[in-house]
């Protein structure tokens, strides 16, 4: 690492210090986001903080280890956590549909809520369609933070095409809700029948014509009923999205980008880092998982390979030759990982990095999470 680089990411300062109230883990799929989030949360809890971890799509055995067997969309106490210092850990798994239902219920009258919840368009939107997860994860984060029951909330982001979609959500929702489309869709159901034709300005005729032609009368009516029913709660919806965005921007939030030393994952990490910086989001740094290292006491790669070759010509030393080849392969991998990490560091000199050594097995219990936590905290 060069002298000018920001240096090491101190996750313990995030986990234990009381300045940080929210940690958001983002990164490509398969890099250990959920495990990192859970490990940071557990470490903070065992240090004495009251912590909630919100996961989106945890691996089954990791979920079980945290007692996440029920999907009731509310944080539940995790058993087996050391509470000796006065902290505790609550965990929850996001239920996308339920979160959406709750938003509807809390923003409108019971009668209207029933009407919305029964609408076929709403049902498809809230349960079967991709994209809803991003909105609902951030909605849930806002709710949990507003309850102020936790010193620290750790959240992992959905495994989406672009895990930062949620940054755009408030603005998109805002411009959509303020936009002409929503008025266009809302008008007929409100004004009834053909009245909307009069309300529309020049140029809208072709648009409504097109929409009717594409959607067909029945679907259009469903959408219109849905929009009309939502109308009363739109203001609140938008406000919430903006509040959550503002919350993410505050210095009490820390974004942690997670990656592994593979080209694709690091490319995604670069994209996330640049995007967060461009939006002025509080970026804490990069966690580089599964970094292969090599302890002291070995040979150089060249020495090991040359020695293995020499032994090929001598009978009776197949075992040693194999061990030397294995050693050379490990060295190649650790050199490669180090080079990839260094390349990222050079391209992003202001981003602190925590390197987490590769573990021999997957993590699926609290002990495994503690070990990851230790490795995250250890000076490397």
């Amino acid at each position: 690492m060069s002298a000018s680089h920001a240096g090491r990411l101190d996750l313990d300062r995030l986990a234990r210090g009381d300045r940080t109230r929210i940690v958001v883990c983002c990164g490509a799929g398969g890099v250990g986001k959920t495990t990192t989030a859970a490990a940071v949360a557990l470490r903070a809890a065992e240090h004495g903080r009251r912590v909630a971890v919100l996961t989106i799509d945890p691996a089954r055995r990791l979920a079980q280890s945290m007692g996440l067997t029920e999907l009731d969309n509310t944080p539940r106490r995790v058993a087996g956590v050391d509470t000796g210092r006065g902290g505790h850990l609550d965990a929850m798994m996001l239920d996308m549909k339920r979160t959406f239902d709750e938003v509807v219920e809390s923003h409108t009258t019971p009668a209207k809520a029933r009407q919305i919840l029964a609408n076929p368009f709403y049902q498809a939107l809230s349960s079967s369609f991709a994209g809803t997860q991003e909105y609902m994860a951030m909605e849930k984060l806002g709710q949990l933070r507003a309850r102020d029951e936790w010193d620290l909330i750790v959240v992992d982001t959905p495994p989406s095409r672009s895990a930062l979609d949620f940054l755009d959500a408030p603005e998109r929702l805002g411009s959509f809700l303020d936009g002409r489309l929503i008025r266009l869709l809302g008008v007929p159901a409100r004004a009834g029948g053909r009245a909307y034709v009069r309300v529309l300005q020049v140029g809208f005729g072709v648009v409504t014509g097109a929409i009717t032609r594409i959607l067909g009368g029945e679907l259009l009516r469903d959408v219109q009923t849905f929009v009309a029913a939502l109308d009363t709660m739109f203001g609140g919806f938008r406000e919430r999205a903006e509040e959550t965005y503002a919350l993410l921007k505050r210095p009490e939030t820390a974004f942690v980008v997670v990656a592994v030393p593979e080209p694709d994952a690091l490319r995604e990490a670069s994209y996330f880092v640049e995007r967060l910086e461009a939006d002025g989001m509080p970026l804490a740094g990069l966690v580089l998982n599964r970094v292969h290292g090599n302890g002291p006491g070995g040979l150089s790669e060249g020495q090991a390979s040359a020695a293995a070759e020499r032994l090929d010509d001598i009978r009776g030393h197949r075992l040693t030759a194999s061990l030397l080849r294995l050693h050379a392969e490990n060295l190649r991998r650790s050199t490669r990982d180090a080079r990839r990490g260094a390349r990222f560091a050079a391209a992003h000199p202001n981003v602190p990095i925590a390197r987490v050594p590769a573990l021999p097995t997957d993590v699926h219990d609290l002990d495994g999470l503690r070990e990851i936590g230790r490795r995250l905290a250890a000076r490397s």
Binding site: F129, R172, L173, E262, L323
Partner: protein
Amino acid sequence: MSDWEGVRLHVVTGKGGTGKTTVAAALALALAQGGRRVLLVEVEERQGLAQLFDVPPLPYSERKLAVARGGGDVFGLAVDAREAMYEYLDTYYHLARAGRALDRIGVIEFATTIAPGMRDVLLTGKTYEETRRRRPNQSYVYDAVVLDAPPTGRIARFLSVNTAVLSLARVGPINRHAAAITELITSPRTAVHLVTVLEEMPVQETADAVKGLERAEIPVGAIVVNQIRPPHLGVRDLAAARRGRLDRAAVTSGLRAAGLDGSDALVDHLTAEAAAHANRVALEKRERAAVSTLDRPTYELPRIPDGIDLTALYELGAALSAQGAA
């Protein structure tokens, strides 16, 4: 003889980090072998194909990416939801002009970025169109289409988005279009191949995805076990290494025979590495057994240590054909 005669749409998915884009590209090369035309489609706006084939970013039109062995062609297409929306409006409703009006009031933005699910409808729709495109003489433009699809966690939802649309639009043009796409995706002309590596979480996700696809009545194709590293030790040495009982004296004398210092520290280091290696091989064996319980045709691909280039893609493609994938 290919395991997938009659399949026109090969969907390739996998957990992040398992190499699904690489496998999709290798499969396309394998399918194109001997003079066939294959289209490789990406839908996640990552320009993964351009990266992989080392060409400039792909536009929203087919570009030739590579020539297969024996003269076939692999074309690439990066589907963009916005362009797909314009095209859809023009093709099905002759609404090219209205498209611009729709754009001005935010309909296109809404459909491609805000409205959940709409993106997936457009992306699967475009893939469907490419699969059935014909020349004036009625022959197919592409002999096969390979879709580099979203990851396993989202694949069943992605592919069944049109079923959800059917329940919304019960009549009309959207209904007909969604029904046609659903028909293709649930027919034997489609196969969804799952890429995994021999680690616990990817294998578990693969098993979950198989169940999800079966529930949605989408045909599951092969399991591709990627990034296989052959063990460095034989079965008996592996067992000994795990128990910490490798023959230290033999290692010491081997090191000396090679002209190295056979110090205890070096022997410790090498045997510790051997133990870690043996544990990983044992774990891989367990995961391989888990893969075999899924009872699907399974192909194995070696790990390419120094990054994937075109040469590596040819090698992987050849390995896939040799095992019956094409």
